[in-house]
Each structure stands twice: as C-alpha cells, then as structure tokens.
C-alpha cells in the first residue's frame, strides 16, 4: 500500500543513490562506525581484559585535561588563535577574491591564483624549516641580515614567547588565505553581471559596487564557511603549533593548544583512554559551538542558517 507510491521516487533516485553509494559507505566506515569507539574515553584500558572487558572509570580520563594551570592557558590559546584565524582569514580571503575578480586579464588572474594557492601545498614541517631559516638565533635571516647590520639588538625568537601570537597568525594567514579565497572567487564569479551594469549606470563607483553588491551577495557563503570553521574551533593545526615553534618549551605560554598539550602529555604515557577523552571533549565543544552559532544566525536571518 505504501510501497507503490514510494517506488516511483526510488526509481528516480536510484541512479543517484548508486552514485553516492561509495561515498556514503566511506563516511559510514570512516566517520560513523568509529563513533562507537567513544566509550573508550570512559574506560581504564587493560589489554589482558580487552577493550570491552576493561573497567569503567567514569570521567576520570578527562581530569588530566584540567589538572594544571595549563588548562586555562591552552583553552584560551586554542580559542583565541582560532578566532583570529577565522576573522582575519575570512577578511584577507575576501579581499584577495575581490581583487582577483577585478583583474580583467585572464592570464594574470590564473597566474596569481596559482601563486596564492602554492603556500597551502607546503607541508608544515617544511614550513617550520623555512621559518627557522628566518628566525634562527645565530644565522637566521632576520637576526643576521636585518637586525645586526642595523645595529638593533638581536632577538632570540625561539625563547621569547611574546612574539609568537603575531608570528603564528601571520604564518597561518600566509599559508591558508590564498586557498580560502577560491570559494569566494567562485561565488563572486557567479554573481549576475547585469546587477553591476545597472549599478554602473546609476553612477556607483568600484568601491560602492563592492560594498553594496559583492559583499551582501557573498554573505551566505561567508556564513556557511564561518560556521564550518566554528566546528573546529577547539581543534588546532598540530603542525603549526608544534612544528613551527620547534616544540620550544620557553614558548609554551603562547603556543600551547589543546592538541599539542595532549600530544606532549600522552607521548610518554601511551594511554588511549585519555587520548579518546581529549578527542571527545574537543568534538563535543565544537558540536555545541556549531549549534549555537547556527541558532544565532537563524534568529537574525533564517535564510542564511546552515540547517
């Protein structure tokens, strides 16, 4: 009785379903099945008893995250860095996208685009060595070729924590902004050209066009992208915070994030229960943040909300 009316849409969607099948399977295997593993976060894993047989210990695995005064520092660092990355990253990406779209020469535009994406392809390990070549105390470019000839006292970059917030934000923007601008560039390219033409006829200059047409029409894209990065606000790029400052202890006050703390703390202990707890904590906070921000967006402008 129900089968008949339902069979029609199925016939229609079957090819699409088959097409999506492998992708769905991939998500099922790699993203959904592993979720059952979260219970490890509440267990004292003992291999002789097996994972299922190990004792339940409640929230004990989570306590190590809040054991010290570091807990506050790493949470603050993780949040503030990510907020800076999201805010500055979005602004710089949009700026690049607008400038690119105003570039009428196709060849140059393609050339610049490729150049801007390039930093994104460099691995953090290689990047850390590049940074090291600049900031090394004895032979680094900044100390050796800029500060010394100018007679300015040299800076021991890897033991002075106060410079690193700026350095890390700069490095992150340099690395990701070009890549991030692609989506904005594509959205701008999708804006109906006739709107601009009519604006031009009405006497709007370039800046006014950008302010009144491009930015408002980019808003949905911006919101979606910011929402997606909100979900990862409690995660940090391990390479950026561990490799680039060369794991220098003196810099922990400004480079320690939750990920690097967990890595350092558990390197010696090799405890999967605690690792799982840290991962779960980060995911839950990320999930909550996405829901919150989405709810706010929904309240302000329902059309722009993600769901």
């Amino acid at each position: 009785m129900i089968a008949k009316p339902k069979s029609k849409p199925l016939k229609k969607t079957l090819p699409l379903l088959i097409l999506a099948g492998p992708g769905l399977l991939y998500f099922l295997i790699n993203s959904y099945f592993p979720m059952f593993g979260v219970f490890i976060a509440f267990k004292d894993v003992n291999y002789a008893k097996g994972i299922f047989g190990s004792d339940w210990i409640g929230f004990k695995n989570f306590t190590f995250l809040f054991q010290t005064s570091d807990a506050w520092i790493m949470t603050r660092n993780t949040l503030l860095y990510n907020l800076a990355f999201i805010a500055l990253g979005t602004i710089v990406s949009i700026l690049i996208a607008i400038l690119m779209s105003e570039l009428l020469n196709k060849l140059y535009s393609k050339l610049f685009m490729t150049g801007l994406i390039l930093p994104n392809l460099i691995s953090m390990v290689v990047l850390s060595l590049l940074v090291f070549a600049f900031l090394n105390a004895d032979s680094g470019f900044v100390n050796h070729s800029i500060l010394r000839p100018l007679g300015i006292p040299e800076i021991n970059w890897y033991s002075e924590a106060k410079y690193w917030p700026y350095l890390l934000v700069l490095i992150q923007i340099w690395k990701t902004a070009g890549y991030g601008s692609i989506i904005y560039f594509a959205s701008i390219a999708g804006i109906d050209k006739s709107i601009y033409e009519s604006a031009k006829i009405d006497g709007a200059g370039k800046l006014k066009q950008i302010r009144m047409i491009t930015l408002p029409l980019l808003k949905p894209t911006i919101i979606v992208l910011v929402l997606m990065s909100m979900g990862r606000i409690f995660n940090s790029d391990f390479g950026l915070f561990y490799q680039v400052p060369m794991n220098s202890g003196a810099l922990y006050s400004t480079t320690q994030t939750i990920d690097t703390y967990v890595y350092r703390a558990l390197m010696q202990l090799n405890d999967i229960g605690m690792s799982a707890a840290a991962g779960l904590y980060q995911s839950l906070v990320g999930f909550a943040l996405v829901l919150t921000v989405n709810a706010i967006v929904k309240k302000v402008n329902p059309e722009n909300a993600l769901f």
């Binding site: 699409l16 097409l19 999506a20 492998p22 992708g23 399977l25 991939y26 790699n30 894993v45 003992n46 291999y47 002789a48 008893k49 004990k60 306590t63 190590f64 054991q67 010290t68 005064s69 570091d70 090394n136 105390a137 004895d138 021991n156 890897y158 033991s159 060369m246 794991n247 220098s248 202890g249 003196a250 922990y252 703390y261 350092r264 703390a265 558990l266 390197m267 010696q268 202990l269 090799n270 405890d271 999967i272 605690m274």
Partner: protein, 514 residues
C-alpha cells in the same frame, strides 16, 4: 554543483576502497600462508619478531629472513617473521600492532617497560623460562649475576629479558682530539667536569669559530648533564623519567630532584658555561645534535654515556673526525638502566612457548645472533678471525646489501657477537666485568606502578618539557626559573607522585627485608 560533489566523493571512495583492498590483500596473504603452514606441520609455530635498527633498513629482507628461518626451524621448530623498523617509528609500529590486535610476538621496550606492564600488554614469562629458557637464564646469570631479572619483575611476574650487553654507561666527555691539540691542551688534564672550563676557554681562544660544548639531547630528561648528575651524585630516578620522585644516595627518602642542591649546582655550572660563551645561543631549541656539530667540524665536545673504552674508535669512524673520549663520572645502576632495553613477549601472543624458545636462541646461538646483526657471510660481511668481521671489498655500511649491526646494543649477548675489525676484543670482556662491578642502587629492582597517578604524570611531563631544556642548556637564569619550575610542578600534582612513590618504595623495602 550537486553532481560534481557526488562525482568527487565517488572518485575519492574508489581510491580509498582501492587502497583498502590492496592493504587487506597484503595482509590476508601472509596470514593464510602462516595458518596453512601450521596446519601442515604442527610443530613449526610462527612468530613475529620486531627489531629496531639504527642503521639503513634494506628494502628486501627475504634473504636474511630465510637464513634466520633455516636456523630456527632446524633448532627449535619455529618460523620467524622478521621485521626491522627505524628507531623513530619502532615504538609507534609496535604500539599500533598491540592496540589493533595485529600479530606481534616479540618486541623491545625502548624505555617503556612499566607502561607496557601496567596496560597488561606483555605476557609473564616465569613459568616458561625454566623449561624453554634454561640456557638463556644461565648466560644472564653468568654475565650479570643472579638478580638481574629483578629489574623486570613486577608483583612476582617476570615480564622481560634484559639485553645482555655492557649496560654500565659512565659519562664520557667526547671531544675532537685534533682541536684539543691545536689548543695546546693535554688530554691528561681532563679528569672531572671541573677541569672542563679551562679546556673550553683554551679551545675558544685558539678556534673562535668552534662551539666548545655541544647542545643537549633532544629528549630533555636524557641529556648529558642530567646523566652526569645521576652518576656523579648517585641519583635513582625510580623507573620513571620525570625526575619528580627520585632518591639521592641511600636514605630511602623520595624527593623532587629539581628542588635538590645537586640539580641547582649542576644547572648553575651550565649557566656559567653558557655565559662564558661555551655553548651556542640557541642550545635549548636547536634540532642539531651534538654529534652532528662535531662531525661537521663546528663543535668540539659533548657529554655522552658509553660503555667500554673503544668508543673513540667507533665514533671516529662514524663521524670522520679524530675523536677521543675521557670518562669523567661513574655510572649508577638503577632499575631502568636495565629494563629500558628489554625483550618482551606480547600478552596477545598465541605462541608464547615458541617465543621464549626463540628468545633463548637469541641470547645463546652465535649463528643466529650474527645473522641478525650482519646478514649472510660472504655477501654482507667477511670473517677476519674468531671474533672479528669486515665488510666485503669496496663496500661500507651504506652499500652492503644488509646490515642491522648498529643495533648490536639490542640483540642477544654481546659476548657472542662479532665485532668490526680493529675493535679490541678485550673491550667486550671489560664491559661484562663492569656490569658486575658498577655500583648498584639499593633500590635496584623497585618498579614504580604509575597507575594511581596517571593524570599527574601527564601534567608533570608537560611541565618538565616546558622548563627543563632551557635550564639544562644554561640559557635561562637558574635563580628565578628553578623556583617557577618547581611551583608549576607543584600545581601539576608533583606531591601526589612523590607520596605514591614513597609509599610503594617503603612497601618494597619492607618486602626485601623479609
């Protein structure tokens, strides 16, 4: 847009499925082979044996694996699946195999003894040893004395077999002998650390571009300075690496090492060296090792723990400079000196009997040990005399088909190993003698169970990583930083660790008296 998305994930999933399938294919191949064999010949048990190698790892191990299997199937009826990993990923590969339930029968600890034991990842061996490991026990008794297995025994169970090699590692100053000559200093003037500043000053004056003293090790708690302090002042770290709960001397009192005068004085000394310009500016953070500094000709010396007297020769060959060494502090035998390199059988192993049989052979069979270390005679090495080998004509460590020999500190009994040509054989005997003669900590055999204070351990580790490198390299002012360091340790729960350790140590001491 939607279509594109679907296509993208389709392609992605195809690639992933492909790689998954190929990975599975590789796996199932080996397992089916193994099970087929055991069915055919019930006696040929198959075990997986993972060895770290500090040397180049060859692409094709099959020849050596076959040679090993020829020996083991004939002598003990065991087939060995031989795996070699680099030192950097060894622990990771082993941990991954243990956690995922992959077959992994015999592996070494690399400093993680109590960790493996506390998670029940290793099998107790005390019931198997008397039957299948008689010769093994005998050779350990002969070379170390009867109580060596104490260091791998927890709650009455023997969990590992220590490597039989020169384990006493006195602190040496390792230096470039040519530079010392240039500076016009006689090696005889170096007897202890107090003599070093004068030598550094002379080197710095004569060779201003050379860094007199090399940077610290990568691992903060395993620096030359910390090891020197341990040996010179009889500090027992009591089997964890944090240094928060140690006993200095023999008063049985667990204290925070970083609050002790031994530590303060050592750091003060390094600070003076740093201020005098004997170290690089960026010692605390550099990734260049002291050895690399010396071999590039930019460094003059560093501190390192080495057994025997022939280290200079080995290092000279390795770094291409004229290297000499001088002992400046004795070694102090504590539990982790022994159990940090220990062979273990995994608790998931289904062939524990075969594994112990193989371990027995690994310590007592000259042919097996040397095949693992040097490969196949005539192809990978040539014999010079009873104890010595050399590379075939025109080849060196980098060009022979197989060599794992730099891991000789890890496999079996050193007295049964061949040595490279030019190494004095009496050195091997000296090392074994020193194993017996070196002062032992009165707490030798005590193993700290970290289970109760896991969270404090992780927090304390983090604090140590934060402060110790800068302190041991002399790059910060000890006065203020040591105080900060200790208050951060207190915040992280150092006292809980000390209390827990004290309690366990008292219990252990009481049990020893009975």
């Amino acid at each position: 847009m939607n279509n594109k998305k679907g296509l993208g994930s389709l392609l992605l999933s195809m690639v992933i499925c492909g790689s998954l399938l190929s990975a599975c294919g590789g796996n199932s191949n080996t397992t089916s082979e193994g099970s087929g064999n055991t069915e055919a010949k019930a006696k040929a048990a198959e075990i997986v044996f993972a060895l770290p190698s500090f040397n180049r790892i060859p692409d094709d191990l099959s020849k050596v694996t076959n040679a090993i299997n020829a020996i083991t199937t004939e002598k003990i009826g065991v087939k060995v699946d031989f795996r070699l990993f680099g030192p950097a990923d060894y622990a990771q590969k082993v941990n991954l195999a243990l956690q995922s339930g992959e077959k992994m029968d015999i592996f070494t600890t690399l400093g993680q003894f109590s960790n493996y034991v506390s998670k029940s990842q290793v099998a107790p061996l005390e019931e198997l040893l008397p039957e299948h490991g008689k010769e093994l026990s005998a050779i350990l008794d002969k070379d170390f004395g009867p109580d060596i297995l104490k260091s791998t025994t927890m709650d009455g169970h023997i969990y590992g077999i220590p490597v039989n090699k020169g384990m006493a590692l006195p602190t040496n100053i390792i230096y470039n002998a040519d530079m010392l000559k240039d500076a016009g200093v006689s090696a005889d003037t170096i007897q202890s650390v107090e003599d070093l500043p004068a030598v550094f000053a002379a080197v710095k004056k004569k060779l201003p571009d050379v860094v007199p003293f090399g940077p610290i090790n990568v691992n903060p708690t395993d620096t030359g300075l910390v090891n020197w302090m341990k040996g010179a002042s009889k500090v027992d770290y009591l089997t964890d690496t944090t240094g928060v709960g140690v006993v200095i001397g023999d008063n049985g009192k667990v204290v925070n090492f970083y609050e002790s005068d031994v530590f303060k004085n050592g750091i003060q000394m390094m600070r003076e060296w740093f201020n005098a310009g004997y170290l690089q500016k960026d010692t605390a953070t550099t990734t260049i090792t002291a050895m690399e500094m010396v071999s590039s000709g930019r460094g003059f010396s560093f501190l390192g723990g080495y057994s025997g007297m022939e280290v200079g020769k080995q290092l000279s060959a390795q770094v291409g400079k004229n290297i000499e060494t001088k002992r400046i502090a004795p070694f102090y035998f504590d539990t982790s000196a022994v159990n940090s390199v220990t062979w273990m059988v995994s608790s998931t192993s289904k062939e524990t009997e075969a594994a112990v049989k193989f371990l027995n052979l690994l310590y007592t069979d000259k042919e097996l040990i040397n095949t693992i270390l040097f490969g196949i005679e005539g192809e990978d090495y040539l014999k010079v005399d009873e104890h010595h080998v050399k590379f075939p004509e025109g080849m060196d460590a980098n060009t022979v088909p197989y060599t794992a020999m730099l891991s000789s500190g890890i496999v079996g009994s050193e007295s049964l190993q061949y040595q490279m040509e030019g190494i004095n054989w009496s050195d091997v005997e000296l090392k074994l003698q020193e194993n017996k003669d070196t002062t032992r900590s009165p707490y030798f055999g005590f193993i700290f169970d970290q289970g109760q204070v896991k969270t404090q351990m992780s927090a304390v580790n983090n604090v140590v990583n934060q402060f110790l490198p800068a302190l041991v390299s002399g790059s910060v002012d000890p006065e203020s930083i040591i105080a900060k360091f200790n208050s951060a340790l207190k915040d992280a729960g150092a006292q809980d660790i000390i209390d827990s350790k004290q309690q366990q140590l008292d219990q252990w001491l009481a049990a020893q008296k009975q």
